[in-house]
């Protein structure tokens, strides 16, 4: 069966050079913004990365990134920096937006390698083909029984965010999927 041999070629590390590595990312500063487009514009100026008004878009500027999560919701990621949330909140008119520091609520996981999408698809129902889920696309979705934020940073590099208490579960699911794929 042609299909089975294709799957085997995709999955078997012996047959191909497919790789995947999965691991926790170092702590970082995370901020959520719920607000109107003008608040998002103001926050983008202070954060020095534009908050995309376009759905499912992540905008990375250096080590900082602004991820669209909903029509009035963004997740800002940056290297650890005390006081970032306060300076953004000061810039953002409270009447039009709500800024929350959620740095310790979430944990970042990196999935890197040619088999990254295959391993993620063990628990995520989205089409992760590069055409359907291109570089720069981000969304909240599900991984097995946990809610995650998924962001494709490079063709073979995914950033996964999950809530802290789910982190061992999410990492476990990904590692098990990776073992099931033969890595």
């Amino acid at each position: 069966m042609a299909e089975a041999s294709t799957v085997l070629r995709r999955l078997s590390p012996l047959a191909t050079q497919n790789t995947v590595s999965i691991g926790f990312l170092p702590p970082m500063t995370r901020i959520t913004l719920r607000g109107e487009p003008d608040a998002a514009r103001r926050v983008g100026e202070v954060f020095r990365a534009e908050l995309s008004p376009d759905p499912l878009r992540a905008n990375a500027a250096g080590a900082r990134a602004a991820l669209w999560l909903g029509p009035d919701e963004w997740l800002l990621l940056a290297p650890e920096q005390a006081g970032l949330a306060a300076s953004i909140e000061a810039a953002c008119d409270r009447e039009h937006g709500c800024v929350i520091d959620v740095s310790h609520r979430q944990v970042g996981i990196e999935v890197r390698g040619t088999a990254g999408a295959t391993v993620l698809n063990a628990g995520c129902p989205l089409n992760l083909d590069l055409k359907a889920f291109p570089v720069g696309m981000c969304t909240r979705t599900v991984l097995a029984k946990a809610d995650i934020v998924l962001w494709r940073r490079e063709p073979e590099l995914f950033h996964v965010e999950c809530w802290r208490s789910f982190a061992p579960y999410v990492l476990g699911v990904l590692k098990q999927a990776s073992r099931d794929c033969g890595f």
Partner: protein
């Protein structure tokens, strides 16, 4: 699994959504009798055919939206943002024929006539 077109995110797997009851149920602040209040809380159309429902893209953009779904075939005919009017039913019937859905539409017609 159904593919549900979120008005914000596009077609997404059913797993990411939560059903949230019938749409366009309006709370009338002037309701004074227990019967009217009870009807607002509990009486639903329970339509056999096309029904407007609220759905939430819970594991996605998080937004509530409305959805026309056929309770006979489970076809999702159209989704639209909260606050927008329910799309024209005539159009829905055409869509239903297009989808090859041959279920009789009498109960829908009766429900619409009663409004």
């Amino acid at each position: 699994m159904l593919l549900i077109p979120c008005p914000y995110c596009g077609p997404r797997p059913e797993l990411e959504f939560r059903h949230a009851g019938e749409a366009h149920v309006v709370r009338d602040p002037s309701l004074s009798s227990d019967a009217a209040w009870g009807a607002f809380l509990y009486a639903r159309s329970n339509t056999r055919g096309v029904i407007a429902e609220r759905w939430r893209h819970a594991s996605g953009c998080g937004r509530f939206f409305n959805c026309l779904r056929d309770t006979v075939s489970d076809n999702i005919l159209q989704t639209y943002k909260t606050g927008e009017p329910r799309p024209d039913l005539a159009l829905d019937a055409a869509t239903r024929r297009q989808l090859g859905d041959v279920a009789p539409d009498q109960s829908v017609a009766a429900t619409e006539a009663a409004r």
